[in-house]
Amino acid sequence: MKSIIRIFLPLTLLVSACLEKADLRLEEKSFFRIYDNADFNAAFTPIDIQQTSDEGYLVLAGKRLDDSNFTGIYLLKVDKTGQIVNEVDDFDTQYVNPVGPLLLINGAYHFVCMDTNLQLAQLVRLNANGDIDGSITPLGLTYPLAINTDGNNILLLSYDNEDKQMDITQLSATGSISAGPTGFSIGVGDETEEPIINHFIQGGRKFPFAIGRTSGGAIYYNGFYNYTFSLVFTSFGADDPAGVVYGQQDDGGFSAVMPVGAGQFAASRFNFGDNFLLPQINLTTNGITIGTELGGFTLPELAPNATVRLLHHTTDQQASIVFGSNTQARQIALLAYNEDDGSFTGSRYLGFANPFEIGNLIQTSDDGIAVCGITYLAGRFPRICIFKLSKQEVEELTK
């Protein structure tokens, strides 16, 4: 009898260890959700996703407005398994064109939008549930294009259509201006302004406007300067840019840029439809550079002038640059490179059958990645989707 127990007990334990067990925690590690809407005409464009302190996710998105040239505002809060907690589908339609990413400052999330009457930038403060926290603050600047954190302050890139210039401004989290605005001319003529105005119109071509601060302390913005979509390095109060990486009018320039070290950037370029990834590039912040001379990895599978999002993914073992972009096959491509030497480490393509497009991607608290995007349900209904990749899935990508 004892010998039977000796044989069968370990065997039973071994066999039962191989069996599948219901585990709801697995849903937190990895999931995929599409957020449907019964409205036939509803259309959403995700802009950013942030993980909240309860490990859920807050999504900022644009929403098609039937009677407006602009894009409405939509907010979605989901829990850590991707189930809906709160949906803000009735945001006041006088506020339009949300600009991300969602900035976490002093425990509150901030984004900027504009009003429909005067196209004035407005600062919106949210709680972690996606509800408005306090009042919406007018900023006195027109046509907001890009924002970023600057310590506990906010950097804002906006367009001044009176003086035909790109303005950079530093704001406090309450909306008061602490530096700037400092402006640089886009050049004269209606044709120079046209792509900027189209950027604000629902259905118009979107440009990858961006603003931030380099590790050396310079302000950079990705926007129009001197008739060209360019990467501009400057400081508040400067009369002229310190450095410019020129694009090709509105046909070439940076599609994404992220400082990763002293003078070092991860970036991607577009040029007449082609795309070039630059996981490791030294950019001169003083002086003029011609963007087309920067080279980069050509990826023919990416859609023409593809939207590109950059993520600096770091764990105890690995630091990676992850590019998220859209492919010709209408999937979301994640392409990972080693931060130290810029070598390619892996790729993952998300989505199939229905078209998918990227909104943004973030590193999650468990060292996984969350990607928000858009998918066209039944091939036609634009809906927000979230891919949550586990740490193990990300390691397959980055190692």
């Binding site: 191989c18 599948e20 990895s30 995929f32 019964a38 036939f40 949906e87 989505g351 199939f352 998918t375």
Partner: protein, 294 residues
């Protein structure tokens, strides 16, 4: 995996045969008469070896439902509609049975192919223009192949040429293969008229979506018919899966299926199984000897 399974089968066969023939024939009473069997315990035992095949029907019992597509808050959720015991599968088995005093213990390595399906329905309507309507129907068929090791205890209710029996036992299943087919059809009223369509099915290998192993319990009844030294058997069993038959970790990893909004629920598989087989006695096959039942 198939190779290993074959090896196990061959080993089981050889072991059975060696053991079955291990004892010498009782030369003093070689005829196997009823009196001889009664007085000789050796003759009250028998090994049977044979093959069975048949058909099965499957029910997927949902433990926890999962979905890729999240409806808006307060919306009426159209849950997956499972169809139970409606698709036929098939199975073949090798049966090795040891009989003594009305009871049998049987090992029946089986190749088990099962099918089950469920359907989803989605509808989008323009509230301002109700004729703008799109309805999509997804039919999702799963096919799984498992190598199984059932261990059954049988009891012969009556002993004659026609021998009804009842049986119960456990089985352990090891995945060999799994496939999934998704067929989408729908009605589109938004194209300016009635547009009924059916898309090409999406066929994918789904090994990662199903459990590598699961186990269950089984109970059933049948009847043996002795035709000379050969035994024909007909039986029916109900099997109840006791562990999950899906992979909990890989639920969303198949992009082709996730892309169309599908995620497998946590399910246990129950089956109704019918088999017909032919068994041969393995002991005392000397001339003139009849099996235990004569």
């Amino acid at each position: 995996m198939k190779k290993y399974y074959l090896l196990i089968l061959i080993s089981a066969l050889l072991t059975t045969q060696v053991y079955a023939q291990a004892r010498k024939v009782n030369k003093r009473n070689p005829t196997g008469t009823a009196a001889a069997k009664k007085s000789n315990p050796f003759l009250q035992k028998q090994f049977w070896l044979g093959f069975k095949a048949g058909t099965n029907l499957t029910q997927a019992k949902v433990q926890e439902s999962y979905s890729v597509i999240v409806p808006p808050p307060n919306a009426i959720v159209d849950v997956k509609n499972y169809k139970n015991f409606n698709l036929t599968g098939s199975q073949v088995a090798l049966e090795v049975t040891f009989y003594t005093k009305g009871f049998s213990i049987s090992v029946q390595p089986t190749y088990f192919h099962s099918r089950f399906e469920y359907a989803n329905r989605y509808e989008w309507m323009d509230a301002n223009s109700p004729t703008n309507l799109l309805t999509l129907n997804y039919k999702q068929e799963q096919q799984t192949d498992y190598a199984e090791l059932p261990l059954l205890v049988k009891y012969d209710i009556a002993g004659s040429v026609l021998r009804p029996f009842v049986q119960a036992g456990v089985y352990y299943a090891i995945q060999v293969n799994a496939n999934k087919a998704v067929t989408v059809n729908g009605v589109d009223y938004a194209s300016g008229g009635l547009n009924e369509f059916e898309n090409d099915p999406i066929l994918v290998g789904a090994e990662d979506l199903f459990a590598k192993n699961y186990w269950g319990i089984s109970a059933g009844a049948g009847v043996n018919y002795n035709l000379g030294n050969v035994r024909l058997t007909l039986e029916g069993n109900y099997r109840m899966g006791m562990s999950l038959a899906n992979s909990t970790e890989n639920r969303y990893k198949n992009d082709r299926l996730a892309g169309v909004g599908d995620a497998l629920d946590d399910i246990k598989l129950n089956n109704i199984v019918f088999s017909f087989g032919c068994l041969f006695p393995m002991r005392y096959l000397a001339s003139g000897f009849k099996t235990l039942d004569r």
